[in-house]
């Protein structure tokens, strides 16, 4: 679920995502076509209500009926791996995201809200849209602080980030230029079985750490620690066992976490992703044991 006010950079980020889909079949849902939701060079074919995108991705408009559009998507063969909903600039992304949960076959992977670093504080003061901006931020698991290259210096960037964090204490904040956010941050991690993918933006400043051998634990407690502790983790996904030997899947995004019973066949381990420098490798080692691999993406 992608939210954020008009001009915050949602479309730019979505296009970046499509360029780095790396085999994922992504369905993008936008309110309406027309404002060039998809970069022209990515488009393979255009229909009245669907755009085919290279790499097996598609983009559909949902107008005023998101639920109907989602039901339609779930009937496609093959079904998309991920659905990215680009909410309208005034929508409350958390509310929209809730409605996903009632549809069979859909799992909410997270609410990502973009904030234009140059304008978001002024927008929050606006008589008309101020409360809308703040409610959107308070819905976020991850806030993408966009257009940081337009800020005069690092201090200005930090000032915006600390303001964002104060307005949305529940969210993890990632800075971005031109929408360059790793797909793992937006869509979620595929889990410890997948190899960390190579990225042409090796300098983008994210790091992921994989931990293979996790001793039996209380999965929910571990998920909570990863999400809310000071480990610099933006997202984590893992397959664990409890003391009785039951299999569990944990997922965290921002400060939100969940632990559910999983399949025995799944390979054990936990993958975490965070900003390079923020991700506390030593502390994570303490929590999860030795890291099996780490990569910069």
């Amino acid at each position: 679920m992608i939210g954020g006010y008009l001009g915050a950079g949602k479309t730019t980020m979505v296009n970046h995502l499509l360029r780095h889909a790396a085999g994922r079949r992504i369905a993008i849902l936008v309110n309406e076509f027309g404002d060039l939701p998809i970069d022209q060079d990515l488009i393979e074919a255009e229909g009245e209500d669907m755009i085919a995108i290279s790499g097996g991705c598609i983009c559909c408009s949902f107008g005023s009926d998101l639920t109907a559009a989602l039901i339609k998507l779930s009937e496609l063969t093959p079904t998309p791996d991920h659905v990215v909903i680009e909410a309208s600039g005034v929508a409350m992304p958390g509310t929209v995201a809730l409605s996903i949960s009632i549809l069979p076959g859909f799992v909410l992977s997270g609410v990502v809200v973009l904030a234009d670093g140059e304008r978001v504080q002024a927008q929050a003061e606006d008589d008309y849209i101020g409360d809308t901006i703040l409610r959107q931020l308070s819905d976020a698991d991850v806030i993408v602080h966009s257009k940081t290259d337009l800020q005069p210096n690092d201090r200005a960037i930090e000032a915006v980030e600390s303001w964002l964090q104060a307005m949305a204490p529940q969210a993890k904040i990632v800075p971005t230029v031109q929408g360059h956010v790793p797909p793992d941050i937006i869509l979620g991690l595929t889990g410890p079985t997948a190899k960390p993918q190579a990225s042409p933006h090796a300098d983008a400043g994210y790091e992921s750490l994989a931990f293979r051998e996790i001793p039996p634990c209380v999965p929910e407690d571990l998920a909570q620690k990863l999400a809310t502790g000071s480990y610099g983790v933006i997202r984590a996904k893992g397959f664990l066992r409890d003391a009785e030997g039951n299999s569990w899947v944990i997922q965290t995004v921002g400060r939100r976490f969940e632990a559910q019973r999983g399949q025995k066949s799944e390979l054990g381990g936990v993958v975490c992703i965070g900003r390079r420098g923020d991700l506390q490798a030593a502390a994570l080692h303490g929590l999860l044991g030795p890291a099996g691999s780490s990569s910069h993406i």
Binding site: Y5, L6, G7, N31, E32, F33, G34, D35, S61, G63, S64, D65, L66, T67, A68, I71, S88, G89, V90, M92, V96, L98, S99, S101, I102, L103, P104, D127, Y128, I129, D131, T132
Partner: protein, 547 residues
């Protein structure tokens, strides 16, 4: 030469200020040749005198500036409202006052169905009047355990369904975590579904499969019947999504020789970018006919006051609820206003809360400076909480208002006690202030939200009685002649149709509301009770009894 027919009447209320009353009206080629005395009209040469209306009162055909064709579509389902309401065939359905009565009515409808798998669907349930008692899944299971059963609330935003319906939609399970899906003690949904997102997955199983913003053929015909029964000859569909197939269907149906109304559908603003929307509507305008006036846009700016989704200025909601929701970003609104003015496309904006109204006023001013159009008649629809300053500004900017007079009756008590409090509830839908501020004004039903019936709407604006029987906002009452103007010329003006309809005078369409009594001679409290014989539309005669 075409035949000239002169109709005699007990009285003709023309709404033409230079000749307010007449005894005869002459019609040729579906248009009014003149209104006056028989001898005056005979000066046109050979005329045929038709005395069928000799004991009737004629008024200009009523114009409803804010309704939805959906009113016609909903009558294919079971009426479950609190108030008595007449259906398109003229049958009066008594209001249902208890859960048992709702269940019994749905049971009867179910028993009449032949297909054992068919759903039973009801509409217009309003628990506000039933001490907020809600229907449960168990209540609706008494209707049927084998058929899906669903009842849509009057607000259109809540639905109650039975166990079978939840089962069919795959929603009969524990673990729901959604404020729109209340759970019972057993952890399963209670059957109440709040909000369009949670209603949509169940809709197809309980007979609400279509998007209700799309007119359907049967609904369009039913809608026209309701119009004839209420004296309405021109009406809006505010708004419609209007895909190509729907437009073709609407053109076909409205052009049938016996289709009795002139319909003006406004294109809903969502689904296309601003430039594409304006372009599409300009193209659609070229397909317009006399009876299907295409080419306008409706923008929804905020939500509803009783749903706490309208955008209010300080001090906000009386019960402390957080401010409502924007349904369009201010920048998007501004872009649409600029483009529509430049293209000469009319825009009506839904604004319930006063902050939403203020936003439109503030965005329109610069758009007008950039794209001068002295006769745009962009209209603030509902505009329920506007204050005097906003009405004055609207008048200065050349805007019109269409106030929701019926709302005051149906939800006035609710607004007084809960949503906005005594002070603002008293000035809601301030017709007196609007007229005194010089802003062109219409009044409306928003059917199916409240029943279609321009005389009822006039009654509501004249008396300002709430459902509990209190007069709320004595100072904002208008007199009968002003109310009758609002449901004829007033509404016609907001639609740019005041040169064609809205009064009985030379050159205009021969559109009449045929009444059994004189609304200017009765007790204003009886305005809503005047019987409507039928209509004349474009010279064609439509007796309600023969629909």
């Amino acid at each position: 030469m075409s035949e000239t027919i002169v109709y005699s009447a007990k009285k003709i209320i023309t709404m033409n200020p230079s000749r307010p009353e007449a005894t005869h009206v002459a019609v040729r080629d579906g248009r009014i040749l003149g209104a006056g005395s028989l001898s005056e009209l005979q000066t046109w040469g050979d005329v045929r005198l038709d005395e069928r209306f000799a004991d009737k009162v004629l008024m200009p055909g009523f114009v409803e500036g804010h309704a939805h064709v959906m009113e016609g579509s909903l009558w294919s389902k079971v009426y479950c409202g609190w108030f008595d309401r007449a259906d398109p065939d003229g049958k009066l359905w008594s209001g249902v006052k208890t859960v048992d009565a709702v269940v019994a009515r749905l049971q009867a409808a179910g028993a009449a169905l032949e297909d054992p798998a068919a759903a039973v669907s009801g509409w217009q349930l309003d628990p506000i009047y039933m001490d907020n008692t809600t229907l449960t899944r168990a209540d609706l299971d008494r209707v049927s355990t084998t058929r899906a059963v669903g009842v849509l609330h009057a607000s259109g935003h809540i639905m109650n369904v039975n166990t079978k319906a939840l089962e069919l939609a795959g929603m009969l399970k524990t673990g729901h975590n959604h404020p729109g899906i209340p759970l019972g003690a057993d952890g399963l949904p209670t059957g109440e579904l709040k909000g369009p997102e949670v209603m949509t997955p169940v809709g197809p199983f309980v007979g609400f499969e279509r998007n209700l913003l799309d007119a359907d053929e049967a609904g369009l015909r039913n809608f026209a019947k309701l119009c004839v029964r209420t004296g309405t000859t021109t009406i809006t569909d505010l708004a419609s999504r209007m895909d190509g197939d729907t437009v073709d269907m609407m053109l076909r149906v409205t052009n049938e020789p016996q289709y009795p109304i002139r319909l003006m559908p406004f294109r809903f603003f969502l689904g296309l970018s601003a430039p594409e929307l304006v372009e599409a509507v300009v193209a659609m305008k070229k397909k317009a006919t006399d009876r299907l006036r295409l080419g306008q846009i409706k923008i929804v700016v905020d939500g509803s006051i009783q749903g706490f989704s309208a955008r209010l200025r300080w001090p906000g909601y009386h019960n402390g609820a957080p401010n409502g929701l924007w349904y369009i970003a201010p920048e998007h609104l501004s872009e649409l206003l600029h483009l529509a003015l430049a293209a000469g496309v009319q825009v009506h904006t839904h604004t319930n809360g006063d902050q939403a109204t203020q936003l439109v006023l503030e965005k329109l001013a610069p758009a007008l400076q950039a794209n001068p159009n002295p006769d745009h008649r962009f209209t603030l629809q509902h505009c329920q909480l506007a204050d005097a300053a906003q009405f004055r500004l609207a008048a200065k900017l050349g805007m019109c208002v269409n106030l929701f007079a019926n709302h005051h009756y149906f939800w006035g008590d609710e607004h007084y006690n809960l949503t906005v409090g005594p002070d603002r509830a008293t000035r809601m839908n301030a017709c007196r202030t609007a007229l005194d501020s010089g802003v062109p004004m219409a009044i409306h039903s928003d059917a199916p939200v409240t029943p279609l019936g321009p005389l009822f709407t006039a009654w509501a604006a004249v008396n300002r009685i709430t459902a509990s029987g209190r007069v709320q906002g004595d100072e904002e009452r208008i007199d009968v002649s002003e109310a009758l103007y609002a449901i004829t010329m007033g509404a016609a003006y907001t639609l740019h149709l005041d040169g064609e309809i809205g009064s009985i005078e030379t050159g205009k369409k021969a559109d009449f509301a045929v009444l059994e009594a004189d609304p200017t001679a009765c007790d204003p409290m009886e305005l809503k009770d005047i019987s409507v014989w039928g209509t004349v539309q474009g010279g064609r005669i439509f007796p309600a009894a023969e629909l």
